[in-house]
Symmetry: D2
Subunit: 408 residues, 4 copies
């Protein structure tokens, strides 16, 4: 008998097959269904209105790409058993299941001590219990404890299917078509050498293009100044919420959110049972409740995000000097009649950075006959010092009228 | 001095220019920003995970198409003044501003007596006051009270820019590529004859294709049985919420939703001030609050939608007989130990229908020299009786195990 | 050892794999390489400048689609052996190898007694000898003499891979995007029932769309009036060439073309050895040689095609009456000082027709559970009488100034 | 009265408007129509079967992009009169009209002393006479003799519309999707500063991407080793033709080709009248005539190109030493029984090079406020030394069996 496959429509790749069995069951699980309610790109939609795609879609897309990669690698004579293939698919399907509301935006804010990778692992272990150990191999691959290292590299590495999907998907939904990565082409040129994922020589131009596209997506989308200002604002708002809540000055009516605002314990089951109930909807509803709050910080910041009345942001390659920052804060305090503590929610600064390709990280190896070269050495175009250069920029945010005034 | 135009990225059309002035201000208005929080296709994303686009995007896209149409029509020698052009753009930008949470899904449920078109008009009138009468002409065009009727037809008619955008956008985001409509091509072939929007003769094939694509979108997306079952479920859930709330058996903690669950008055300002605060987030949060409700109807239905545990639906060209429906309900009552009143939330039936092109409705006129013909007459392929035929189908929904059992 | 696959880039589908072995060898064969020099759409590029794609590309594309179809059908539990799969691919790869210069345009003109299908078969049989019988099974499938009839239907039938490729490819290169057919979607919904190719029920809308798109391509591209007038002109020109050549009044300097202008014998080997040397280049070179011919017919018609100075064409649903045609011819004779014989190259008439879906032809069966229905019965939209209706149109061509004058 | 615009379908951009008047007439002119018979990419189709697009399409596409650029620049407050706009469009439309058969492939071979730019100018001047001086301004802009230098830069410069079209079009037709350049985006970010075309700061990433895509197209398409070997082969073949023809050992039957094989004079009118009659068809027909030539060079090389039996090519970063080359030649002479003169048509070597962005050339200026920076300085990713680095590679071609043998 033929196992009946479910097919899902995906605007990026067309059809995605869902294998019957454990993978289908995991997708149906409430932990996974929750990803429908987590925006892949946080508040990016305030700049790119199309960026409303969910973590659910990204997880499915990554699984799709890994299926193709497995076929390609098998087709080049490397063994991947059916069991390994399924486990690799499971691992990538669940690799981001630990993301909280608005993905990266609030990551260090809701559970400061647990990055999303660790939460993903906690979810996987929980599901492994529920499914009687059927996720064992997936977990080993995810943790890079399985002997075939290249399977892990498909999930997490310089050229993993996670990146190939999100760069392509994010450029698709934002409409930043120049960020489009030829995922399919790169995958066709994957090869395994000494248990490492490498790219065949003729793929060098595609890899160069991938690095450039990725960089473009960073500066044009992920680190877009308006996206940045929105997400910092959201973090500030959550800080204020926590501050008032802990002081008993704020009623929230959301037990799951309250659990994390005031978390004491470290019980994994308890964390998961509350965490899986949190998503973008809790945060936006919180903002809506506080749109008319008596607390000027809460009401202003909620309005700023909900109705897109964003502060002004200045970006510079040089650090802003303290004097400038202090004078800004003073002006805000005077003009809006705020305390110093309140003012810090209206004027704040920080830094952003991106390194397009760090060789501290894993390398992208290009295969020339029997030899391997790092792309940074193999490329005529992108030299090593350039690729590993870390670009740092500094920003300061504040009310538009005050910032504009200062600039003159 | 040159007015600086804002440009927005749209995944469907690329760049969309936002004219400076009143249009830009309207887009910045909180009433309009709210559309970011209204999903264009209700719960369709439960079937097509990509269908997460918002009413905001659709409104912008419609405005974009209408700009092109205005250029085309002007280019064919018909006068459209700058004032008329702006008013037409405003009218289409705001034509759907009265949509509530999940768009059509809950339309008759939250404000049964006010269809979204009327609410849109209320919003426009409110905004007209706020902007000192600057929307006067837009409102007249929207209400078809302006002498150049073809401007209204661009907004609402058989071939309006609203449809051309949503069909194209919905097929883009669902990934149902066969629903793609060549909006740009049809627009290039628009013409105005005796103040009516018509299509030039060579556009006949594109119009045929448009009608077929629209039909495909209806049956494959808008009336997809799983979409249908989800949206009916959501309506049932809201009915239960109202039932319990009115009886004082449910705490909601959402003043805007509560206002509509128990609305007494008809004050427009009051309605708008509460309505503009309602969006998808209120509904999903309501479901999340009731996921563990003691009321079995609320908890079951919330779980069904949130975690995609949907009932089974049967579709038939014939009506289901009463006996069958009664026996279903009885089984549900017995099996799940429910009262008759509760059971009606688990078993229910209804009908769906679509007429691809009704000549009761306006016609699509094709221009042959000085003569006009309705597409239903002009087309060799699609004859009149076929086009105006209304297809009706019947459905019944219920728990999977009971429905499956019955079928045997 | 792994057989090394060759990969070819295709603008329509991306990558196409060429299996090693006989298929690779056939593609390298000079008979097949010749298809690079045969335009898929004859003179259509005079209207759609992008329509410069070759029969070579179409043959490769059809083979690609048939590979996918084979995978899909196997995936639904029907056996297709490796040998059958290879044979089916060979059959579709070679199905059009008998096309002559400008594909259909000159088909009945160069070898009036041998349609391209028969020539294709002659080529296959020749190649079968050369490859020691390795094409035996491919030929049986091509001739529908193999027991698994559905394999033949993949090559030739209402929904064959030939059509699915050419409709998609032609719309791609002409830029008539509304002719785009969702080939991949239809293929995913193929099924085999009682050895017949059918489409699963949910594919009904895609099939409807396919029929409409096909129709659109017919009227908008294949039977476009300017394409028509160009191709009829080319036929007229070849007739004149033959007329003068046979009378010894024309020097040609092209032994292969001369063989067919004056063919006596029926020796297959001889026919093939001359035919495979004929392609678009012989015809265009012939025109260029005669651009300044003393024969006014040759020089005028060559100029008309080469420099796109095309006659005027009138199209009508009614036949043109003889009187009108005679008066046209007379005017041409007078105005350009031509003999009656010469005039027939400047004024001529004919008819065109298209039946979108003839039920005399094979049917497109849609599968409803265990039942099959013809699409014409299954569709709510397209009814039987409409689908099988043959639309006939009449045309007359002549010099622009005379035709325009007549119309008044 | 409204001038009726002609619209042409383009697979890359959709619709292209052809302005009525002189531009329409020039497109209808036989000199321009001839571009339909010149392949944009020479013999590249032997590697990328889709690369069959013509110079005609490219010229139209460039004109389309320049129209958009003109709108954008006007929209930013710079004056471009209607006369200037028309002249600029004419100049780009005709900028490549001097290309001969197979574009660059045979450029230095048929008219060694006249590069295509000079021939284009000769054509323009000829047309200027024919149209009574109406091309005067276009010619001045083309020759960069008009005071608004930025108009010339739109036609010829680092970011001209010629490049933006051909990179996009060539990647479209070859199917090398990673070469796709976001032409439209770059154009939207053009600005004019001090009469120079520059790019606004936010366009830096698009420019980087453009440079990388261009580089990818160079190595993956324009300098692809099989393309290279084919085109060198064609040059060798033409050399042999000339050699034999001059000696009276070859009958050609093509007066236009013969004129150039043996050209004595420099009369412009004469050159043009013969040159405009030359196109790809003359060359391919020549090859077909000589496929069975008694001259082994002619027949072998004709077969190699027509039937794609290409020699082997070796590429190296180091020069091949003389010894190696001599030994190759000797082996070929022995094995195929050739004279030394004949052998040079079977073994030959040369070099290829590409500099992605030469600062000897014009610069791409990026505008930061009131400051301009060259992209090589502005980019974090692409540093100066990398961008201006010239990569040189060496190749040697010869019969496959001999080359392969040598390698061991």
């Amino acid at each position: 008998m033929i196992k009946k496959q479910k097919i899902v429509n995906d605007p990026v790749y067309g059809f995605i097959n869902i294998p019957a069995g454990i993978i289908h069951e995991l997708i149906e699980h409430k932990y996974f269904q929750r990803l429908r309610r987590i925006n892949q790109l946080g508040l990016t939609y305030l700049v790119y209105p199309g960026a409303v795609h969910s973590r659910f879609q990204h997880a499915m897309g990554s699984m799709y790409l890994i299926s193709i990669a497995i076929d390609v690698i098998r087709g080049k004579g490397h063994e991947i058993t059916d069991e390994e293939a399924e486990a690799t698919k499971i691992a990538i399907l669940l690799h981001d299941i630990g993301h909280g509301p608005f993905s990266h935006a609030l990551e260090s804010c809701i559970i400061p001590d647990l990055p999303h990778e660790e939460l993903s692992l906690m979810f996987m272990e929980e599901l492994n219990q529920e499914y009687n150990g059927k996720l064992e191999l997936a977990i080993r691959i995810f943790k890079n404890e399985y002997r075939k290292k290249f399977l892990h590299q498909l999930i997490s590495g310089q050229l993993d299917m996670d990146r190939l999907d999100y760069l392509r998907r994010d450029s698709f939904f934002t409409g930043v078509t120049e960020g489009v990565v030829g995922s399919e082409r790169i995958i066709k040129m994957l090869q395994v050498v000494d248990d490492n994922l490498v790219v065949e020589a003729k793929g060098i131009y595609s890899v160069e293009k991938f690095l450039i596209a990725r960089r473009l997506m960073y500066w044009q989308v992920y680190l877009h100044k308006t996206v940045l200002v929105s997400e910092v604002l959201l973090v500030k708002l959550l800080e204020r919420v926590r501050e008032l809540y802990v002081l008993g000055k704020l009623v929230i009516n959301n037990p799951n959110l309250e659990y994390f605002l005031n978390r004491k314990g470290n019980d994994k089951k308890e964390i998961i049972e509350h965490f899986y109930m949190l998503d973008d909807f809790d945060i936006i509803s919180l903002l809506k409740q506080n749109l008319n709050s008596e607390d000027i910080v809460l009401s202003s910041l909620s309005n700023a995000i909900l109705n897109r009345k964003l502060p002004k942001i200045l970006i510079s390659r040089q650090q802003f000097d303290d004097e400038f920052l202090i004078s800004l804060k003073n002006e805000v305090m005077t003009k809006f009649n705020l305390s110093e503590n309140e003012a810090k929610y209206f004027v704040y600064n920080g830094e952003i950075s991106n390194n397009a390709y760090s060789n501290l990280d894993e390398r992208i190896n290009i295969q020339y006959g029997s030899e391997l070269k790092d792309v940074a050495d193999a490329s005529d175009m992108l030299n090593h010092s350039v690729l590993s250069k870390i670009v740092k920029k500094y920003y300061v945010c504040g009310p538009e009228e005050i910032i504009n005034n200062k600039k003159r």
